[in-house]
């Protein structure tokens, strides 16, 4: 349990966080006893099967949701809502269709305290950073998936947040585009030294990008294990040490899925209608915590 790695000097601290949702009148633990520390300028990746609470955790850090129990702090200050200090990139680009690419990035600066000219300069700078200068005046529907996601990254960065949160940002992209964007993100991170929390379900991506890899397990959503990745950057995907680490993470991830298998309620979709189900599901998690 201590392998979760709550560093005392962590910049971003997630302390014993739980998050419950009411599902069909039953409390459902999306997160249970989650503890995580991220050092300033660190790059943490979170992997886990879908439904294990990755997005929920990220939304808590973003301040879009509040934990049922536990606390989150950034630089010692409790997180009690969204802040321009924490940029977020969602799984979908979420661009506003009626605004141009530049307009969408400008949206991030709506409440920034700076003169209009400085805002325009910031938008131009961040569009250049993600390689979209030529598409500043294009509308979202004119962009490819990768370009739209880059615009969303520019929007997440434009406030120069202390923390950048990314929720499976490359999940829907083809392998080639994903690889390129991973490289670009690393370059941006290295250049800006932004504390980054990157959610993914792709183990290769998690290992390639993260200097710490958090493996989450479902039902209830919890941290199963944390891996350190000290390989220097720029990294080679074929690096033997990375491949070795990748296999270890994959084994851990498979173990979290395997743990689920013996549950009797996995029998079939009809089981979902059974009212006892959520309660039954909580038991193994409670035992594991």
């Amino acid at each position: 349990m201590d392998a979760r790695g709550g560093t005392a000097a962590a910049h971003l601290e997630v302390t014993d966080v739980g998050k419950r949702f009411a599902v069909n009148g039953e409390a459902f633990a999306a997160l249970d006893h989650v503890a995580l520390g991220v050092a300033k300028g660190g790059f943490v990746t979170i992997v886990g099967a879908s439904g294990c609470g990755k997005s929920t955790l990220l939304r808590l850090i973003a301040g879009l949701d509040r934990p049922t129990s536990g606390a989150l702090r950034l630089g010692g200050v409790p997180i009690d809502g969204p802040s321009l200090d924490r940029g977020i990139v969602f799984q979908e680009p979420r661009l506003f269709p009626w605004l141009t690419v530049a307009g969408n990035v400008m949206l991030g600066l709506e409440n920034a305290q700076m003169p209009k000219s400085a805002k325009r300069a910031a938008v131009a700078k961040h569009l250049a950073l993600v390689g979209l200068t030529a598409f500043a005046d294009a509308y979202p529907h004119q962009l490819s998936g990768g370009m739209a996601q880059r615009a969303a990254i520019a929007r997440g960065l434009v406030n120069r947040p202390a923390v950048l949160l990314l929720d499976e940002p490359f999940g829907a992209l083809d392998a080639l585009t994903r690889t390129r964007l991973q490289g670009e993100l690393q370059a941006i991170w290295a250049q800006e030294k932004i504390t980054t929390v990157f959610v993914t379900h792709d183990v290769d991506e998690a290992v390639y990008l993260g200097d710490r890899i958090v493996v989450m397990a479902p039902r209830p959503g919890r941290i199963a294990k944390v891996f350190e990745n000290a390989r220097p950057r720029p990294r080679e995907r074929t690096d033997a040490a990375l491949v070795h680490l990748r296999n270890a993470v994959l084994r851990e991830l498979e173990a979290t899925l395997g743990a689920e298998a013996p549950e009797p309620t996995r029998a079939g979709p009809q089981a979902a209608a059974r009212p006892q189900r959520p309660a039954a599901l909580r038991l193994p998690g409670a035992a594991g915590a």
Binding site: A62, L64, G81, P82, S83, L84, I88, F90, E92, R94, F96, P97, W98, L99, L107, G108, E110, N111, Y139, H141, Q142, N159
Partner: protein
């Protein structure tokens, strides 16, 4: 336009496609009216219907020319249009306000929705007898009836528009700490423009039809009056001229709005 010409347009160069396709589709829209005209002429020619009931096209054309050149037709049209302008503006503005309020606040929705839904079920014309008592049968009645006709679709569409703004975009705004006003101005209103425009177009059509109906009942001028007057005199040619005028004005209003809509939403149109 003949079928041959239509085909010629169809076969135009690839680069001319967009405008060529538009002309072709507009031309196709004329085919059915033209066919109706041919059947009408044939009917007059072969006496399928007595000319007291269906006068010949040429007679109708003569009356049209006569009513036009005397200025009578334009006068009636102007009266009708003015009524619609007043009634529609009031009804659409009120509908927009109520639709937005219901969309933005569940409290307002809970209070107002049931009554509104019930009101929306009552055909506009069915409220005339009741409204006649306080309003009389003068301009006020007409304007209120027209306003009510626009009010219902406007409210419904504005409401649906606000509720249809994706929660994901609202969440983006939250992440950037938008105030309620910023959320409204930068997210909700632009996001609801398309349904609101549908409400405007639909409301205008409703207003126009309600106008003609209320002019049929109580009026001494306007296109609806022209219609009643022609019927009472058994001048079916005048009736048909009035019908054509009503249809053309309504069509032009809708087209104008459609044009405004595409201009306002260029970001959407260029997607095609």
């Amino acid at each position: 336009m003949s079928a041959g010409e239509t085909l010629a347009v169809l076969g135009g160069g690839a680069e001319a496609q967009p405008s060529g396709a538009r002309i072709r589709r507009a031309a196709v829209g004329l085919l059915v009216p033209l066919a109706a005209l041919v059947i009408w002429a044939a009917s007059a020619q072969y006496g399928w219907l007595p000319i007291q009931i269906l006068p010949e096209p040429l007679v109708v054309w003569d009356s049209l020319v006569q009513l036009w050149s005397s200025g009578e037709l334009l006068d009636h049209a102007r009266v009708s249009l003015l009524r619609v302008v007043y009634g529609f503006s009031a009804g659409a503005a009120a509908g927009l306000a109520l639709g937005l309020a219901m969309g933005l606040s569940e409290t307002v929705e809970d209070y107002v929705r049931p009554l509104f839904t019930a009101l929306a079920q009552v055909p506009t014309l069915a409220s005339i007898p009741l409204l006649m008592l306080p309003l009389g049968i003068d301009e006020a009645l007409k304007v209120v009836i027209i306003a009510k006709a626009a009010f219902v679709p406007m409210t419904l569409n504005a409401f649906a528009g606000v509720r249809g703004v994706p929660a994901q975009l609202v969440e983006v705004a939250q992440a950037f700490r938008f105030t309620r006003l910023q959320l409204l101005r930068r997210v909700i209103l632009p996001g609801a423009v398309a349904p609101i425009f549908t409400g405007v177009r639909y409301g205008l059509t409703k207003s126009w039809t309600a106008l003609v109906a209320v002019e049929l009942l109580a009026s001494s001028e306007g296109l609806g009056y022209l219609l009643v007057w022609g019927r009472q005199m058994f001048w079916l040619d005048v009736v048909i001229v009035a019908m054509i005028a009503i249809g053309v004005v309504g069509f032009l209003m809708d087209k104008t709005l459609a044009l405004a809509e595409t201009r306002l939403q260029r970001w959407r149109v260029t997607a095609v």
